[in-house]
Amino acid sequence: MSTGNVLLGLLAAGPGHGYDLKRRHDERFPEARPLAYGQVYTSLQRLVRDGLAEVDATESDGGPERTTYRLTERGSLTLRTWLGEPVPPAPVSAANEIFAKVTAIIASGFGDPAAFLRLQRAAHLARMRELTAVKTVAGAPLSAVLSADYALTHLDADLRWMDNAAQRLGALAEEVTSA
């Protein structure tokens, strides 16, 4: 997900200057990494260069000059296209690191893969408890609940994979050591 596309989405709600856009983003997605202002600024320049955004106004009511940007026709079309496309279903890299460690533990003999998976399960569940606490707090905004749910369902998927792997460690060890 490019910052450019995110900014197009934010500009669709109405013109704004760089800091406005950063704030809109950070408020709407409280669990996401905050947008870096420098990144917002360079991405806006690029959008203008590509004709996807343009300067709406430049104001300086007493303070420093601030440039407000708005979406162009082309920007709006680009946004429409982006929003109409599915996100590529990428595998979750965390699960791959777990698999890499399990395999390396077997291959190196450094430790016990079953014990490692138990340790990993405890770490995952501890994180899931934190996320559950975040989303069940009274009056939690739906955006926070849904962000927490997204993380929870991904952690849950890792755990299912780990349960599955834990029950087949013997066969995996044979495959790894015979290779």
Binding site: R121, A122, L125, M128, R129, T132, L152, L155, D156, L159
Partner: protein, 231 residues
């Protein structure tokens, strides 16, 4: 260290040639929500039944305060299940001929509470679990999820010391499951009730304070209690 509310030590339970439990030990602390997870057939339900005094283990002990549940007679154990413990299973344990309201009021009526007071309290618990609208329905007229919530309301209505719930959200979709868990955990915290929760679902287990995992009839891991539960 906190004295457990209920403690199982070295439980063995055999069914014919099957060893359902092979030396399982577990502590349920006062006021905590404890998730018990593990593969199918690993002995989770059997462990829950032993700790709730529903089933007597062949070996090992179950302590409830100064009492040995594994040695208590059927009368004493069934009294405890009416007064000190609440139990919820995955499927049907409501009385089919009674409405939801009467089902929830039943344990109070059996304990000698007046009809009016029992119904009032039952209504409050149905509301907490979001099924007050179903108060007049019989179990056969409710969805699986609604029945499950009524069963939880019935388990909580006597303000028990412990609730034993075996896959209480097993029949629910994830959103309904979350509502039930939120209501259960909230109610348990408020009344200081311990909950032993058997589940396959890690997202449900994440509502608990601790997790114990069962494998091949033994408790394989049990999270350390958080530094003194303070609430």
């Amino acid at each position: 260290m906190t004295t457990p509310l209920i403690e199982a030590r070295g439980l063995v339970k055999r069914y014919g040639t099957t060893d359902a439990l092979r030396g399982a030990s577990l502590r349920l602390l006062p006021g905590e929500v404890l998730a018990v997870t593990g593969p199918s057939g690993s002995g989770k339900s059997t462990l829950l039944h032993c700790m709730a005094g529903i089933v007597r283990p062949d070996e090992g002990e179950v302590r409830y305060g100064a009492e040995r549940l594994d040695q208590a007679g059927e009368n004493r154990r069934s009294t405890l299940r009416r007064t000190d413990f609440g139990v919820v299973f995955q499927f049907g344990q409501l009385v089919g001929e009674l409405t939801a309201l009467d089902n929830v009021a039943l344990p109070l009526l059996l304990a000698g509470t007046s009809r009016a007071a029992a119904h009032k309290s039952a209504g409050t618990w149905l509301e907490r679990f979001g099924v007050l609208g179903q108060a007049g329905l019989r179990p056969g007229e409710m969805s699986g999820g609604q029945g499950q919530r009524v069963a939880l309301a019935r388990a909580m209505v006597t303000a028990p010391k412990a609730v034993f719930a075996d896959e209480p959200t097993g029949a629910l979709d994830s959103l309904a499951g979350e509502q039930v868990m939120t209501a259960l955990v909230h109610a348990a915290r408020e009344s200081g009730t311990s909950v032993l929760l058997v589940t396959h679902d890690a997202q449900i287990a994440a509502y608990a304070d601790r997790e114990a995992t069962v494998r091949d009839g033994v408790v394989e891991t049990e999270d350390e209690p958080a530094a003194e539960v303070t609430r």
